[in-house]
Subunit: 151 residues, 3 copies
């Protein structure tokens, strides 16, 4: 089954791949690895902003992380790489957090679970999830990725 077919089966429509907010590119492929820039959580074109522990709850955070994951998939598709994913290798999840919010792993699961849903075992990845005090444009979550690409 193609990844596109699997996305359809899951009822997932990918967002429009966001243009970089600044002077860099969304994806660089080198040595069989796609390095995907940190993606922000746009849902229907609107950025999910806010801070965990303040004005975003756990469900909202997980939804934001999932939106970051969808944007990673959208960037891979825009780069013609979506059907060539060999392994999701690493996700880096940055969660906009107050100093007393410590559930970054649960928030990041929004992106991690998506990768497993879409890619199955190939979607299992290493991960780092940390809190940050603020993110670009006030985003609630940012996620970057390293993805192995088949030749």
């Amino acid at each position: 089954m193609t990844v596109e077919a699997r996305l359809n089966e899951l009822g997932i429509t990918l967002p429009q791949a966001a243009a970089p907010v600044a002077s860099y590119v969304p994806v660089v492929v080198q040595g069989g690895m796609a390095h995907v820039s940190g993606q922000l959580p746009f849902v229907d074109g609107v950025l999910k902003t806010g801070r965990l522990g303040e004005d975003v709850d756990l469900d909202g955070g997980m939804e934001a992380a999932r939106a970051c994951g969808l944007m990673i998939l959208a960037q891979l598709k825009a780069a013609g790489l979506l059907e060539k994913v060999e392994r999701v290798v690493k996700l880096g999840a940055f969660v906009n957090s107050t100093g007393d919010f410590t559930d970054q792993p649960k928030v990041a699961n929004g992106a991690s679970d998506l990768m497993f849903e879409v890619f199955g075992e190939k979607g299992r990845h290493a991960r780092a999830a940390v809190g940050v005090p603020v993110l670009p444009l006030g985003a609630a979550v940012e996620v970057d990725a390293v993805i192995a690409i088949s030749e």
Copy 2:
């Protein structure tokens, strides 16, 4: 000398490899590189929590970073990779810090020095060390790693 023998020589007992706090895996090997998920500082099964500049002093921070490093080694061992380490390539150290604590490099040395102790020259790595306002479960330090693995 095997790495296990060297650990014995140093009097180091590795902790039990911690299960991921969430839906990801501890280690992914791809293209000769092991990507190790961000590890938290469990000592005798108890997480070292707190914040540098607040309720954790420099020694406590270094000890926490070393505990993260030991957990990286424990994860490599659990994955059958400990004796195949060719080079410690990169460590990423995230230090739970108040806004006026600026000794993240010294804290991160707890993990860096461990890698040199255990692996010698092969343990010398690139590194980024930054402050963060909070970490999963309130951990004092989190460290992730990229490790080259011999075939």
Copy 3:
């Protein structure tokens, strides 16, 4: 044209490659990739300290990020790799930020634009830019890098 010649053409003098603040190395090359440790913004030997949203303005932040980028180039040169850059693959930009400063991408452009100036298309990279509450020695910005190296 060599990279050195291009730097001359741009009127750029690289700083002295900074010694690591701690027990690690500035660059590790493995599998055709140079992993460059997080670099701090030294200008004429003086560290640019401060926090965006507090005592560093956007221009100062961009200048600091550019200084980090110059230090990345200086480290590559010191390692004998400057003329072997095949592609700037990924930059990680950590911006010392108050909780309401959200222009991390613009700040990080100080480093990103430099890479494009110096390397042209080979300088286009993936990137993650996040806010952090504090950085080593009070630095305003820290940037690390993954650089593909030709054999």
